[in-house]
Amino acid sequence: MHIPDGLMDPLVALVGFVEFLAVIAFAVAASGSRMREKDLPRVAVLSAGIFVAQMVNFPVGGGTTGHLIGGALLAIIAGPVIAIIGMTVVVLIQALMFGDGGLTAFGLNAVNMAIIAPLIGWGVYSLVKQLVGDASRAASSTAIAAGAWASVFVAAAACAAELSVSHAISGGAYGIAATVAIPAMLVYHAVIGIGEAVITAGIILYLQSASPEAFRPRPRDRTDRIALLTLARSRTFQAAIAVLTVFALALPFYFLYASEGADGLEQTMADAGTDEGEPLLSSPFSYGEDYFAALFAGLLGFTAVMLLALTVMAVTRSGRAETRLE
């Protein structure tokens, strides 16, 4: 799943890099309160263990083999924040020391394997564990296996989407066509995911029985918990999460039903025989001609508007606070 240089459209690679920088900055800041100096060698050994575990190939059938990604494994053992940093280190070593995965594609590789895989793995594991609500070995195995399978499948889906978007917005100069990338990546990784699920569950259950003290969760800092609870109870936060979730889920489907016809003003101009003049300022972006280009433009626009709105809110709030102080 390591994307080499020159395969991705530069704009997609840039977006991947920006996403990676934003998440890793948050993870590094958050790890400051969670990771003690004594934990550093432990996290390093776990990352090295994941790197080596990636070298153990397992049989998929028909003479084909797959290997672990390890994102879910690290997230379940060490927690999502540490897993993001640990997996970033693994992907960075693969790129810088072994030439596996490109420099310009590093952001996208890290997003797929160091951010999406551990977060999805940990999220699905936590969700299934709560749904099952049973501390038995079978329930635990189910939750771990579900998390591990989902981590591989969703990371592969993200990689396929990036390849398809690159192909669509570059007119075929970069990426891989969606008709090849999506079925190939999803089918192959759905099978590899089964191996990841079985092996991750096997490894964690073995470790839990052989060394249970390694899995005793550290008591969470009380201030952390209070801050999280306050944030979660905030109505603005709840509304923002609800709106973001609905938009994020709806965006891919919205473009499927988008009409290619002219809008009201364009139709009126066409009826009146008025032509569009030369623009004073030409934008480097366009909405594109097909589904993936439009989806990508939609995602870019959505992110830009959201960031702008948050900045305006922050500026307004600080202005109000200053007025109150006066």
């Binding site: 080499p4 020159g6 530069p10 060698p41 390093a44 990352s47 310009t104 090849v180 092996i199």
Partner: protein, 247 residues
């Protein structure tokens, strides 16, 4: 920590140890190498016109040749990445035509070769120290260094476990339905992690004794001198020329 790293230099980088000693590229400051190569790779990744891709491919080959790093190691690493590049090029060839397919192959190769020169021609500790000097957060660079050291240890551990498995008659399993095969793979992975976990505390004590203080401290002095400025200027100049021709 540094002492420990230097003491284990014989293990260290997979390619740098075999790189040609006479190379002018190897002694360069890692910051210059990272910045120069990254700029050049970004420029190569952006271009789409066939004549520019051909030019950048020739420039990359010239860079490999004149860097005097171990060419066999660069070739071997390139061959291991080639199947994925060929798959992508073939897909582009099927959907967008021969010209774009060949362009993809040329562009990906032009980007990969300087990266492999960086990999082959830089010692691991120099690279991590260079990243630290480029203001990469300490938690990442310290973890990079420690992880790299443990990878070498656990690769040996894994090879010992593999030999032990084979001595007991394990031949790798046949498919995902082979429960025995997957159980052996799981327990091997778990054993590697368990040994790693046990070792971490002992390693921490060892590091403290050697004066470990969270952040890495470079022992060797390294400076961004005239050679580094010249190297960066050449690569940035070539990258700017490629981009200007592209625009």
């Amino acid at each position: 920590m540094i002492v420990a790293h230097l003491a284990n230099r014989s293990h260290a980088p997979p390619y740098a140890a075999t790189a040609t000693k006479s190379s002018w590229f190897i002694p360069l400051d890692a910051r210059a190498k990272v910045v120069g190569v990254f700029t050049y790779v970004v420029a190569c990744a952006v271009i789409t016109r066939p004549e520019l891709i051909a030019t950048s491919l020739i420039a990359s080959l010239a860079f490999v040749a004149c860097s005097r790093v171990d060419h066999t190691a660069v070739g071997r690493a390139y061959l291991s990445a080639l199947p994925f590049i060929l798959f992508a090029s073939f897909s582009v060839f099927l959907f967008s035509g021969t010209e774009k397919g060949i362009a993809m192959l040329g562009r990906a190769s032009a980007c990969l070769m300087p990266l492999l020169v960086l990999v082959v021609g830089t010692e691991s500790f120099d690279l991590f120290a260079g990243l630290r000097r480029l203001r990469v957060p300490w938690v990442i660079t310290t973890l990079l260094m420690l992880t790299h050291r443990y990878i070498l240890l656990f690769t040996e551990e894994l090879s010992r476990l593999k030999t032990a498995k084979e001595a007991r008659g394990h031949r790798g399993g046949r498919s995902l339905l082979d429960r025995y095969g997957l159980r052996v793979v799981s327990s091997t992975g778990a054993a590697v992690l368990l040994r790693a976990w046990d070792r971490a505390d002992r390693v921490y004590e060892g590091l403290k004794v050697r004066g470990f203080e969270r952040d890495m401290t470079a022992w060797k002095s390294s400076r961004f001198g005239a050679r580094e400025v010249l190297f960066c200027a050449v690569l940035v100049g070539v990258s700017a020329a490629i981009l200007a021709a592209h625009l």
